[in-house]
Amino acid sequence: MNILFSFFAVLIIILAVIIGVETAQLEFLFGVIIPYAAIATFILGIIYRILKWAKSPVPFRIPTVTGQEKSLSWIKSNKLDSPNSTLGVIGRMALEVLLFRSLFRNTKTQLKDGPALVYGSSKYLWLGALVFHWSFLIIVLRHFRYFAEPIPSFVIFLQNYDGLFQIGLPILYVTDVLILAALTFLFLRRITDPKLKYISLSSDYFPLFLIISIAVTGILMRYFAKVDIVSVKELAIGLFSFNPVIPNGIGIMFYIHLFLVSVLIAYFPFSKLLHMPGVFLSPTRNLANNSRMKRHINPWNKPVRIHTYEEYEDEFRDKMKAAGIPVEKE
């Protein structure tokens, strides 16, 4: 049900752009207006989200500690998993964001006869996620060859390494293969693991299908249903220099690709894709484990009803005296 809903949603998006461009000649809408609107939504949406998150304070210092604390000088503390300083926190966050440290810990629980619980190492999710995210990043960066003239040197560098194997013509990018493989794995994982299927929502399948479609249309354009690259670059540079033009004769595949990308970035601030900025603000990861060493301030520290020692002694004074416990008032 959730799968179908998302599948059809992506299908409708694709059909909409085909009809829009092929039949209704809405190149300017799909080539200029929608991309601009999507970028604006993305930027404003993300800013709004981050401000909204930042508006809520962090009342308590609650890192999830995953290693030895810094205590006695002769006990070796774990500076990354139980960071004690800002530097340590930066290290911990870097490992988390760049290498998905926590996913690397993943295990699979199995219940065997005995009964015996076994926790096997399970790194596939980590690997799939890492390959997907890094491939995606490299592919996005590679696209700067379309946005800038002359082509920035880091793009040339990425292109060279991405096409290292020099297979085929145009040269096959390794990341194109990897991202499709990783996306396929992430999708199959969702539908074959019963637990995962049970927890998956339309909002999990939708971005997955969207990104798969983006990757597939991109690959089709590069290797099979080729489009006029010169015109594409003309359009892209026009967009980025706020001087939009619609060159003639760009293939439909490009408009499908562009519209899917527009939908993805406009959808971003309203979806789980927010995990990208959100992870940086997660209080269980981005705080040092030094709460006994350095006082953390809660801006709304609320006064509460308390039971004072005086009230306590008033109630129990006689019993305390009889038991020989010292009291304040005789």
Binding site: W53, S56, V65, G67, E69, S102, K108, Y119, S202
Partner: protein, 539 residues
């Protein structure tokens, strides 16, 4: 133990990790005996000035909620979203990757899909989407949104009282989403309309009035300590001094109340008394802050703060230099991560320095509260106590990292260092079940009742199974731990799943091995169990 509980092998056979065909969005809960806790009694709800005191039980069809319950919950949720960035982030960024799904001890022991941490949080997230997000308002069910109904409230009650706030899931989450934080806040919400459990409410009411969860009054406290002093004398021949509410002592010592009223906690108390006497520590017990634990933290941040106030207040009144805290799990979550923020600054105390070794406990410079394992590890490292390890030779020890000392503090090596220095036989459980990956006892966060026994045994299954592994492999017969709830609830768990394993504190082992000046020859350990002699070893 209840006779209605089936045999362990049968219980394990019935655990099925395959979720049902039907989706989870429709709330449905069956309150079966053995898997839920009774409601808070009206007298104590009223005493704590909490809303809606009344007689009710979870299996009642009508929970007698206030007419505007829905408004109260939604306003309460909004208020908490504005006060806790954690909650906002955790509601927004989960991608349902499923890394947490099989990390929860309640899921592993029950197979109930709503015990997967991701779904536990989704029970709230679905309401958040419905009422606080655009996507949820537009796409409804397709965006995983659902309306807040009485049945959702019942489901919250059921599943957020099937979370022990152990934070194991948070270790594995790529964004650190912490179900404990969600559970704490949902329990706060439920309390706004008078939904709570008695095993939390009554201890909190007791603690507010008498200073400890068990409701022990000052003279009762003194009796317990005096009794322990006598017991220790009969074992060691030494009568130790145990000052209570002594002004001007150097150190205030705070423990969970079970330490002086429960078994096997009591043997740890004997260990503390022996140790402090032997090193000549100038310290005091307190009747007013006679509870280190904090069941208030299982109700709300407000009650957590309210109960916690007493520790600093008493330290100030008695004029001590700093505080040492005994063996307890959630107590240390509160002391380490909340106390200074809530009730500090403790500027009337001094930066903690061991009077015996001169070691500065710099990691406690602000809060001014030192964990007993940190303190004792330092004593041992500096050769300040004499140890006869052989006196623990009848114990083949493994160590259960209590959730909060491990995952809130990172107190991992200190207790191990102490154990290794007082015992000859120490064996670790498998690595996925200890240290930061430790499994909960299954009874924390106020769930350790008899009426909830089946769920406790299910939740404790992963821990018990790991103990069983080292029992079979190394002959382990003693499960060491540093938490009062562990000491109360691990023994029945061991009896059910493992058998032949005793549970006790690290400082019980210290007390056994500690050679005291002019002590009489010891023939038994602190429990009264005979020590292994050379003859008995030869046999």
């Amino acid at each position: 133990m209840s006779e209605s509980i089936i045999k362990p092998e049968e219980l394990a056979k019935k655990i099925d990790y395959e979720p049902p065909k039907k989706g989870w969005l429709d709330p449905s809960v069956e309150f079966k005996r053995g898997v839920y806790n009774y409601s808070g009694i009206p007298k104590n709800v009223e005493y704590l000035q909490l809303p809606n005191p009344r007689k009710w039980q979870p299996e009642d069809p009508d929970w007698q909620l206030p007419e505007n319950w829905k408004e109260i919950i939604l306003n309460g949720l909004k208020e908490r979203l504005d006060k806790f960035r954690s909650l906002k982030i955790f509601m927004d960024i989960c991608v349902r990757c499923g890394a947490c799904s099989d990390k929860c001890h309640f899921f592993i022991g029950s197979g109930d899909p709503k015990n997967m941490p991701v779904l536990r949080a989704e029970l709230l997230r679905s309401i958040y989407r419905n009422d606080f997000t655009a996507a949820g308002k537009v796409f409804g069910k397709f965006a995983g949104a659902r309306e807040l109904t009485i049945d959702v409230i019942k489901e919250w009650f059921y599943y957020f009282y099937q979370c022990t706030q152990c934070r194991r899931c948070s270790v594995f989450c790529p964004y650190g989403i912490d179900t404990a934080e969600v559970t704490i806040l949902v329990r706060e919400l439920l309390n706004l309309i008078g939904i709570n459990i008695d095993w939390v409410i009554t201890p909190v009411a007791n603690c507010f009035r008498t200073g400890n969860h068990l409701g022990i009054q000052p003279h009762g406290f003194k009796d317990s300590i005096d009794f322990a002093v006598e017991d220790l004398e009969s074992i060691t021949g030494i009568k130790v001094d145990a000052p209570i509410n002594k002004k001007g002592a150097e150190i205030l010592f705070v423990v969970p109340s079970a330490d002086y009223f429960g078994e096997p906690h009591y043997f740890t108390l004997l260990g503390y008394l022996a140790l402090f006497h032997e090193i000549g520590l100038d310290y005091t017990w307190t009747t007013f802050a006679s509870e280190g634990g904090n069941f208030g933290s299982f109700v709300s941040h407000d009650l957590m703060k309210s109960l916690n106030t007493k520790i600093y207040a008493e330290a100030k009144r008695l004029g001590v230099k700093y505080i040492i805290g005994g063996e307890c799990g959630h107590m240390w979550r509160v002391l380490h991560q909340y106390m200074d923020t809530m009730n500090g600054p403790a500027d009337f105390l001094e930066k903690p320095v061991s009077p015996i070794t001169g070691t500065k406990f710099e990691n406690a410079n602000s809060t001014k509260m030192v964990h007993i394992c940190e303190f004792t590890a330092d004593l041992i490292k500096n050769n300040k106590i004499k140890i006869d390890k052989n006196r623990n030779d009848h114990r083949k020890v493994t160590f259960h990292d209590s959730c909060n000392p491990a995952r809130a503090m990172g107190l991992i090596e200190e207790p191990r260092y102490v154990i290794n220095n007082v015992c000859n036989y120490f064996y670790e459980m498998p690595e996925n079940t200890i240290k930061e990956q430790t499994f909960c006892c299954g009874s924390g966060a106020g769930l350790g009742t008899d009426e909830n026994l089946e769920m406790r045994l299910r939740g404790g299954f992963p821990r018990a199974n790991a103990v069983k592994f080292v029992k079979e492999k190394y002959g382990v017969n003693f499960l060491g731990c540093i938490c009062a709830i562990d000491k109360a609830t691990l023994p029945p768990l061991m009896d059910y799943w493992v058998g032949g394993v005793e549970v006790g504190g690290v400082h019980e082992l210290v007390g056994n091995a500690l050679i005291m000046k002019s002590e009489k020859e010891r023939t038994t350990d602190l429990r009264g169990d005979p020590l292994l002699t050379n003859e008995s070893v030869k046999k």
